[in-house]
Amino acid sequence: MVAEVEQKGRSKPENADGLILKPLYTAARQFAKSLIRPSTIIYPFERLEDPKFREEVAIESGRPIGVGQVWDNYRGVHALNVNTCISCNLCAFSCPDLCIDMVTVPGGDPKHPKKCPQIDYGKCSYCGFCSDACPEGCLSMTTRYELSTPKRAEMVYSPQKMFEIYQRKLPMNPIRLERPANEDSILLDVPLCIGCNACARDCPTECITMIDIPKANPKPGEKPAKRIWKEPVINDSDCVRCGTCISVCPKECLFWGTHT
């Protein structure tokens, strides 16, 4: 079958001038310029995070001769200060790629082991949501960006490995999100509470204290309760809003809301 297709696009350009001299001239100019100073940064030997690039901010012949201190904003491999981590789970909750697992690290008491994030960099998208969420500032992103490794298993960084990165004192991402002032807090639905202590036990910041409350006056004809009732009281300024108490509450009596 011979298709009936009209041939197009063979017109002569109008006012095509200058032949090929202009591009030749431009290329020659660039040649002369880059003979003196090519704009390459010779990567493994020169890095933008080197001190010499941090002094000032300037561009010369297409090459940054300084990128300034803002290089610290880079979102690279995480550094984790295991000592200040409170095992609040917020990083794992906020991870859109589900690449953070909370693993046990030595240092906790046997009943409530200390858990710190372990990050699988094979999945991580470096969005920084976890470090934004970290209430203690212990999980932070550094300027480190070289991760290549021959084994996939080595892409999983344990808390200890991230602690080593922390100890190397790399520049940390200085951007911290401000906690909104009028944030919701955790409220208690009093009639439902059974005083089981689960929230106070699992609270990472220990901001929940169980206080004794007298059982409300018995109705006529009823015996006074023998048992001492307890009720959680949440110290709102210490609370990091991690929601651990909500998820452990067996009666679902804790909820988000605003103090009235």
Partner: protein, 381 residues
């Protein structure tokens, strides 16, 4: 054997991504084309149904990997309308600044790839070099060079760092003469003109009929630009012209994009002036619980909140570097959007490809497809 099918792609220097252009050629002339998409389909619209409103932003950067900011802006505006949130003034300006920088970076990237397709090798490196400076700027305030994750529903993540306007002005001062240099290498070269003139012609009425937008439409003489026609962000407060050409061919698209870069620089200077003198908050005050950074478990009461929160539908449209992009966000009152639908400009531009490819030679495919500026990430989504 006078005719044969040639698979151009999925691994082909012309495709700029993963797609397959099946071409039936007669000698060297194209008789029929059949694009085959889907090699990069990641189901972003489906994944979005399963993510928090803010987490979708991480996907937006990957929708079009050379125009991440524009897509973030698009989505964030749509989600804000669906949720009924108004971002602060400064955040709007920062978003506009970011989008224009992204347009500049995207067009430079387009220039680099386009001339590379023509066999012109050195401008590719020049383009990459100059785009890198813009990426440095992005990195200085977002922390990422390609995937920024910067905008949030209700504002932006953080304010610009100190000294940013000065650094940005340096970059703009460096870029402006470079645009002249780019022009000299291309429009000053007769070979380039002969390769590009009269190729891929798609007249304005055909463009409208086929849904083609962006520089392709404007190169046919139309002045449609969402930034002017339906101003969003703060585009109504800056001065700029809509770049047009009337040749509706590859050269016209080249000229339109070059002029758009100049206009972007003009917008950027105005935005930098404004941002220098107007400090303020960059994130809206009262956000729903699940829009804050930590996504803590909601508990039983979370579902109550969900019920109480207003439902809504948000429609946003921006002039993305490639053309008109729309987002349609359906909020059914929950942590996740119920449905997100994106209108990708390249999707529509590419769907018309049989109209501007048939009849040309196989050697004309790279310049024509280069002038369309295909970004497969946003076609397949």
């Amino acid at each position: 054997m006078s005719e044969m099918w040639v698979n151009m792609g999925p691994q082909h220097p012309m495709t700029h991504g993963l797609w397959n252009l099946r071409v039936r050629i007669d000698g060297e002339m194209i008789v029929e084309v059949d694009p085959e998409m889907g090699y990069l389909h990641r189901g972003i619209e489906k994944i979005s149904e399963d993510r928090h409103y803010n987490e979708v932003i991480t996907l937006m950067d990957r929708t079009c990997y050379v125009a991440g900011m524009a897509w973030e802006h698009l989505y964030v505006m749509g989600a804000e309308k669906a949720l009924g949130i108004v971002p602060p003034e400064r955040a709007e300006w920062i978003r506009m600044l970011s989008e224009e920088f992204q347009r500049l970076a995207s067009h430079i990237m387009w220039y680099a790839a386009f001339v590379q397709d023509l066999g012109l090798m050195s401008p590719f490196l020049y383009g990459m070099r100059d785009r890198d400076l813009i990426l440095d700027l992005f990195q200085s305030y977002t922390g990422g060079r390609l995937t920024y994750e910067y905008m949030r529903v209700g504002g932006v993540r953080n304010d610009l760092p100190e000294g940013f306007p000065a650094q940005a002005r340096q970059v703009l001062d460096w870029l402006e003469p470079r645009l002249v240099e780019y022009d000299r290498l291309c429009m000053g070269s007769e070979i380039f003109r002969r390769r590009c003139d009269g190729l891929g012609v798609l007249k304005a009425n055909d463009c409208v009929r086929l849904g083609v937008t962006g520089p392709m439409l404007r190169s046919a003489g139309s002045k449609r630009d969402i930034r002017k026609d339906r101003p969003y962000s703060r585009y109504s407060q800056v001065e700029f012209d809509v770049a047009t050409a009337d040749s509706s061919d590859v050269t016209g698209r080249y000229l339109v994009r070059m002029e758009e870069m100049r206009q972007s620089i003009r917008i950027l200077r105005q935005a930098l002036d404004w941002l220098e003198h107007h400090p303020g908050p960059v994130l809206a005050d009262r956000l729903p619980r699940w829009l804050g950074a930590p996504y803590a478990p909601m508990g039983r009461e979370g579902y109550l909140l969900k019920r109480n929160y207003p439902k809504g539908v948000g429609l946003s449209a921006i002039e993305e570097p490639h053309g008109e992009a729309c987002a349609y966000v359906v909020n059914e009152g929950g942590e996740h959007p119920y449905r997100v639908k994106f209108r990708s400009p390249v999707f529509a531009n590419l769907s018309a490809c049989s109209h501007y490819l048939v009849g040309y030679h196989i050697a004309d495919i790279p310049p024509i497809m280069g002038s369309v500026d295909v970004c497969v990430g946003e076609v397949d989504r």
